[in-house]
Symmetry: C2
Subunit: 696 residues, 2 copies
Amino acid sequence: MNTHLICETGFDSEKIHFYGNKFLTGNGYMGVRGTLGEYRKEHLPAINLAGIYDKVGDGWRESVNAPNGLYTYLVIDKEAYTLPEKEVSEHEMCLDISSGILTRKTVFTTPKGTVSLTAERMVSMTNHNLILEAYSVTADYACKISVFTGIDAAIWDIYGPHLPKIELHQEGTYLVASGTTQETNIGVTTQEEAFCLFQSQEKIHINEDSILHEFLWDAEANVSYRIEKKVLVSTSRDTKPATKPQDYETERNAHIRFWNQIADDSYFEIMGDERGETALNYSLYHLNCIAPRHSESLSIPARGLSGQVYKGAVFWDTEMFMLDYFLYTYPDIAKTLLKYRIDTLPGALEKAKSYGLDGAFYAWESHEGGLDACSDYNIVDVFTKRPMRTFFRDKQVHISGAIVYALKKYLRITGETDILTEGGEKVILACAEFYRSLLLKRATSDFYEIYDVVGPDEYHERVNNNAYTNRMAKFVFDAAYELSGDTQWQKLSAQLIPPKTNQDGVIEQFDGYFKLEDCRVADVRSRLLDPKEYWGGAYGVASDTQVIKQADVVAMMCMFREDFSKEQMKANIDYYEPRTEHGSSLSACMYSLLSCYTGHPDFAYPFFLKSAEADILPGAKQWIGLVYIGGTHPAAQGGAWIVAAMGFAGLQIRDGKITCNPQLPKGWNGMKFKINYRGKQYEIIISGDSYQIDEL
Amino acid sequence: MNTHLICETGFDSEKIHFYGNKFLTGNGYMGVRGTLGEYRKEHLPAINLAGIYDKVGDGWRESVNAPNGLYTYLVIDKEAYTLPEKEVSEHEMCLDISSGILTRKTVFTTPKGTVSLTAERMVSMTNHNLILEAYSVTADYACKISVFTGIDAAIWDIYGPHLPKIELHQEGTYLVASGTTQETNIGVTTQEEAFCLFQSQEKIHINEDSILHEFLWDAEANVSYRIEKKVLVSTSRDTKPATKPQDYETERNAHIRFWNQIADDSYFEIMGDERGETALNYSLYHLNCIAPRHSESLSIPARGLSGQVYKGAVFWDTEMFMLDYFLYTYPDIAKTLLKYRIDTLPGALEKAKSYGLDGAFYAWESHEGGLDACSDYNIVDVFTKRPMRTFFRDKQVHISGAIVYALKKYLRITGETDILTEGGEKVILACAEFYRSLLLKRATSDFYEIYDVVGPDEYHERVNNNAYTNRMAKFVFDAAYELSGDTQWQKLSAQLIPPKTNQDGVIEQFDGYFKLEDCRVADVRSRLLDPKEYWGGAYGVASDTQVIKQADVVAMMCMFREDFSKEQMKANIDYYEPRTEHGSSLSACMYSLLSCYTGHPDFAYPFFLKSAEADILPGAKQWIGLVYIGGTHPAAQGGAWIVAAMGFAGLQIRDGKITCNPQLPKGWNGMKFKINYRGKQYEIIISGDSYQIDEL
């Protein structure tokens, strides 16, 4: 069995949104939701553009979707055959994660027989403006077939329309749809060329919101008819004009070769766990679909390129959860991600200033230039339908620490220090200045404290001395001292209040946490009045309890494992895990990783699987309050790599040397994967407790 | 017309709760709600006991009501005639505020004619355990009349039952009901003696929840029959046993003489404004009904003795709004109020400690011993019916400042310094220590700041540098320095961050207030989804706007008028008044007073009237969220005195000398009132702009 094929058989209209995420294709320039060609906007198709943002009126700022050049539907004897409207006798979608090709096969039942439609789609890895799609139609009886295919200009937008006037026209062999964003004045163009590999009549229809070819022919029974499409998507922000594609087959082959190389470079073999292997490699597939290979300064949004959810914005997810995979496989991409933060320093400086603070306060939801797209009212209350004042934007100050942490990790792993003079040094010092301006000293104390923050666990707002945040601030002061030799940073680091622990070594997540109602996730869930209601905020069911959204102290321990003994790590896992909802996809991988660190891979395994299967299995949260949050989970996918490599394989760089400390969960006989370390590729082969590392 | 008679004619069952407050009688030991004799607990009758508290199960701690010894109803020819059940052809209630007597006259229409019932009630000012009530019944035809009168043991409780087992028996001429509180184990006894002034048959009925005399007689037409009742209420906390009363007439006369003296000592004549005069004197009536004359260490709850609302607890209302009247008329009572705070210092020390703070953090809702009855969940959300986390208890730190402010005022006005050695000094220093432990200094600033507080305006929670709170802290440091000569206090005072002002001299209520949505009270009201919903909290309609509940900066200016020019005061009134809901009865008087200070008595007048008529007119808030808050408003009543005396008359003590600065509103030709200053009584007569002060 080929574990690189992810398939879903049968049609279920309830799963349309879920499959849109699961079967995402993309190349970092754009993401194409795994929706069917005949879908229109109610089923959330999207060609989601990386780094292109816009704002309409009072709506939230968000990423922009291009006109859908993949729009295609089938008409048999004047009757349209589309999903979800028509009955099908067969339906399957398959994604080949080692070639980046999504296929679809649907067999419609018509009054006279059956008509089979197959399609393949790929978002070219070798021409970032290009999408390829090919359709084959076969009827088991003679009939008149029309294929309508072209560009749907009725774009799915959450807070749009971002391209309010889309101009539709024909230009040579191409159909063209182009518009301009409202706030940012960015031109967005989709060009589409369709080619019939057989004899047909062609007409062009220019409708109000679409421009379509109609290919009409008299089909013979049991003959397959193929149509190939090339779709070019471009924007006025592109640094180079789109390259006209070569022929379909040439482009297709180049794309497949590229993906094969990715799979060869970084996919895992896991001996004894096909499910785990597939889920992990599927995760890496996703990271590669959204990695900004076409740019030298761009980052990855928290929902990847799966749509406008979370505003298409970049969160700490990238630095904390996705970066490691790239650091160890494609360090150039890691640098691109970090350059984005260096280049958005002006936005971070401005944000800090707007709050009366110094230095760099990075955007919680970063758009171009570091503009913070995060609203002060980021959730809608289910009971009153009113926007709720949230504190993600202004109080989640740990974001700046994540960036310094990532920079330092980049320096450590790659040994490449140019990034410091290219702006990295400025970022580190500006973040140190930021945390300095947050420090408070009581008239009656010798310690500096940090008040009124939101830690990783967002269910507890406006807390004092969040252990994670304080530790990050200390890390930033240490980094600033190391960089500058300025002893002020050393002093601030030394005077930061140490975390409080109970008698078992459990670190209190923030001042007063242990005094909150001690209950379990199920208790809190049972108090919900509405399944969509927000657990946090001032009055949420979790707010005044010890139930937390996600790893917080445990995340801190993962980041600073050298501070803690295994016993203390275990005590903290034991305490916090039953109190953790894992309501964020950033949570499971942290519990998994720390469990590996304590020598408990079997405890770690289900969390690994949860992380790796975040987009394979349905069930991810779709709503927070009344805000739709469906989309892919690249942080969980990055987290799966972290657990596999750093946890189960125990990969570490020690004094410039690669080491492993295998901790395989039950059923795993071995692992095999490659990493790239300082310009050389190594293969790591683990077999039981032993391992070998071979330079390739 | 006698402006000392407050009457309501006609019966309206909608107003039963309102009249219960409006027609309150009391003597500081107990308050008796102005309900009719026949009412049972659904109409909220209460004999509310000062300083007696109890807690049942998980319910809120609250004051205790005694068994209702005033329970009385009328039966004509075997048919009960009671309100609100029966039709009446006439009904009137009148309160004589200069004799402390409440009367009631009701004419019932029966099938055979009419029956008139009159009653008078007084809560003895000369025997604090005693209530007198007399009934007269007259029918205009011959009939059989029964009067049932005795003790109703079915007590109206909010979070009761506090006297779960009430024992009912007869003891000599008395009916007795006695029980014991659940948490506090306090014995509460009501004894009742009823005396028929004519020939009747008497039976005693001991029912499950009442013990009653039945007086039965054959009534002749148009003959008036009178029954007199003496009710003795006592508790096991009384310092002396209840004195057996003398005969009805003797007790009644002594009571009237006492009230006449109060009226003579402190009521106002206002020439040209009968309505204002009545409202003001009615306010003083209330203050005297609840003044703790029987104790040397007791204070007045925020809802007086009108029931268990606000838990019968003592708030800052007493120090800030009620104290002045007593200081200038009955300084002994002022001392009793302050002694309560001195004696509850241990509770304040313990509260501070429980929050990791130093010194004295006084209870926001003070019960005996300084126990804070304030819940962390003091409001119930109308939408979810869940308790809302509120911050009155833990963040309204200005309470301790109010107590020091009051002590300093007492020292200044009375010149009596014994209170310092009797504990006042300890209180001042402990409050200074408390504020010191709240001070924070940013690593990047030279100023001390106070974060995360709730100011007088409770609609804005967890704010930084509330100008009122900071000014109070500074005052406390200054007082500690003055008292101790310890320069640490001087330094802390000097380093406290000064308030921020805009270009017009308007002081920003707290950090960031000016950045909030600038709108008016009506805007905010129009956003309500439910008339009972709470305007404040995290998501209230006012929370993220500049609309405030009550005077905050303006209150600060009233307290520290020497800091500000008239122009600045006016600029602040002009700014804040349109943004003030006056949702607390503590608000209007502050705006009124400050307007007088700026020389605008006509602007001040409607606020004065609003304050003085708080319990005369219906319309006071009855609900916050789903919590019933009906009751009397003694702070507004104290505020009315402050405005009349300090505002319109401009009364001030300067260098030990009484001065006035009359600022009479339109229509006022003059004022006449007395004060007691350092053991001497003075009459102040104001006529237009001029005044004279005569020692009596």
